[in-house]
């Protein structure tokens, strides 16, 4: 399969939205969408649910279990020291530690997961599909696993200004 991609250029986010709706209706796989501003309707039309919240919940549960085990090990098994007349294993003082550890670990893991998913890291060169993407143009990127002629037709129908075909190296990002 070639790395050729079809890129639709739009001057209006509503036109882009109709194109995205057209394409998702026909189950064509949209690679990505670029634009100078966010549109909530566009994100909804994309129907790509983020998995980050579920990851956060899983990591939170894991952290609570792990931190509880660690606290139990340190305070009861490894170094049983009785203070304040409290039992060796007492839950209330653990709650605060569990609470803050959970927030810390989930926060860190979420950031790292987000950066990994979006292929961002500190010091990365920004890749742009076109200089105008940060100005006033909207871009719709499709790969050619569908019928290319039909895709072009739908993009034109929605009111695209032009259609560009470009080779894109998908492994290292958008090499323009």
């Amino acid at each position: 399969m070639s790395n050729k991609h079809i890129i639709g250029v739009f001057d209006d986010d509503q036109k882009l939205l109709t194109a995205v709706k057209n394409l998702t209706q026909h189950k064509a796989n949209i690679k990505d969408v670029y634009g100078p501003s966010t549109s909530h309707e566009l994100i909804k039309a994309f129907t790509r649910e983020s998995l980050l919240p579920f990851l956060a919940v899983l990591v939170a549960i894991g952290t609570i279990i792990g931190a509880f085990g660690f606290l139990y090990y340190t305070s009861v098994i490894d170094y049983p020291l009785r203070y304040g007349g409290k039992p060796l294993f007492s839950f209330p003082p653990m709650v605060v530690i569990l609470f803050f550890l959970t927030i810390l670990v989930v926060g860190g893991v979420s950031v790292i997961a987000f950066l990994g998913r979006t292929q961002l890291f500190p010091g990365k060169q920004p890749v742009m599909i076109d200089p105008r993407a940060s100005d006033d143009r909207f871009y719709l990127v499709m790969d050619q696993n569908f019928n290319p002629e039909e895709i072009k037709l739908w993009i034109i129908e929605a009111g695209a200004l032009e259609i560009v075909e470009k080779e894109i190296d998908t492994q290292t990002g958008w090499g323009f």
Partner: protein, 386 residues
């Protein structure tokens, strides 16, 4: 688009029947066990005053934060405040039952109890009643002002009522946050007159919004089912559900903060409050309070999609209304009567108060336009989306 609301005969009949049950419960209570009846009266007064103050705090919060999304149904929290005059009368009636509830109000207690004698300059009958009158005067006056501005907005429109509402919202939040936390300390915390907690009043004032939002949700969904608020969309419900979720965390945090410090420090005066609740016969309710008010809403409302469901949202709200009762029951009863009793007096009196509450709120709702048609943020609220 329907602008006004008229209570159906069903609501009127329901509130009438509930009030009747309440009157029967009060009569039965005073003939069989007056002390328990007075304590229940205090619980229910505090319960519905909490809802009224919380709703008005919610209303004011929307103004001072310039929140447009809630403008659509802002008359509902305003109407809930209409319970305050009824609550004031019922609270003042408690004057006749003070020695049955409060240890410090017993005649001659200052001679035998040194700690209460030390607190006497603050905890004495005339000053206690004066404070009560002052609190209610301030709350009712501010409620009347807010309501008058709202009614003026309906008739004349323009930006002037909005700016005035915002100003008086600031005043109300300032006044109510301080006076309601003091009131909670006065009315609830002094039952265990040797015990004190700095956090107590703050907790009562902050969590009042939590329960008020639950009531607001129930009323809005009820009206929506009747065909009012046709513009109410998923985004509105989503934001209301988020309120419940956030406040469940606040509740758990404050509840635990109060407990942990006393548990850790282990000072006899303070642990005397938690001993019967944490280890004695009230233990089941102690854990139930945390489960109902924190754990269940926290876990269920965590997902937005589940939280804004039209069945889940009212269910959680009803659970929270039970939670507020359990919470107040646990704060009042061990100190006042000291006996764990649950029967017709408890249920009947709560139902009676609920009847009064429904009567007051739905009458107030019909007094003003249901839809604030001249509110400058109404259009934005109708098209609210996230």
């Amino acid at each position: 688009m329907e602008h006004t609301y008229k209570p159906s005969t069903l609501i009127k009949a329901l509130s009438g029947v509930l009030i009747l049950i309440g009157v029967l419960a009060v009569i039965y209570g005073f003939t069989s066990d007056p002390a328990r009846t007075w304590s229940n009266m205090l619980i229910n007064n505090m319960y519905f005053i909490t809802l009224a103050i919380g709703a008005l705090l919610f209303y004011s919060m929307q103004y001072i934060t310039d929140s447009a999304w809630s403008a659509l149904f802002q008359r509902v929290p305003l109407a809930i405040g209409a319970f305050l005059p009824i609550g004031a009368v019922l609270m003042l009636l408690l004057y006749f039952g003070l020695p049955d509830i409060y240890e410090w109000a017993l005649p001659g207690i200052t001679e035998t109890d040194k700690l209460i004698a030390h607190k006497e300059p603050f905890l004495n009958l005339p000053f206690f009643m004066t404070r009560m009158v002052v609190y209610f005067t301030m709350w009712i006056a501010l409620f009347v002002v807010l309501r008058k501005i709202a009614s003026k907005e309906d008739s004349s429109g323009g930006m002037d009522p909005f700016i005035k509402s915002r100003y008086y919202s600031k005043v109300f939040i300032f006044v109510a946050a301080i006076s309601f936390s003091l009131a909670a300390k006065d009315w609830i915390m002094t039952i265990d007159s040797h015990w004190y907690s700095t956090l107590f009043g703050f907790r009562a004032a902050v969590t009042s919004i939590y329960y008020a939002v639950a009531v607001i949700i129930l009323i809005i969904l009820y009206l929506n089912k009747l065909g009012y608020f046709p513009q109410l969309n998923t985004a509105h419900r989503n934001d209301l559900a988020r309120y419940l979720f956030r406040f469940s965390i606040v509740f758990g945090y404050l509840w635990f903060m109060q407990f942990l410090i006393i548990w850790y420090a282990n000072i006899p005066e303070l642990t005397a409050y938690y001993y019967p609740r944490f280890l004695g016969e009230w233990q089941v309710l102690f854990y139930a309070e945390l489960l109902i008010n924190f754990a269940i809403p926290f876990i269920v409302m965590m997902s937005d999609v589940v939280g804004r469901n039209k069945i889940v949202m009212p269910t959680i709200s009803i659970i929270l209304l039970i939670g507020l009762w359990v919470s107040l029951f646990l704060q009042v009863m061990p100190g006042s009567t000291g006996e764990l009793q649950f029967g017709f007096i408890e249920t009947g009196m709560w139902l009676g108060y609920a009847g009064l509450f429904i009567f007051a709120v739905f009458t107030a709702l019909s007094g003003l336009n249901l839809l604030p048609k001249n509110h400058p943020q109404l259009e934005e609220s109708i098209h609210h989306h996230i």
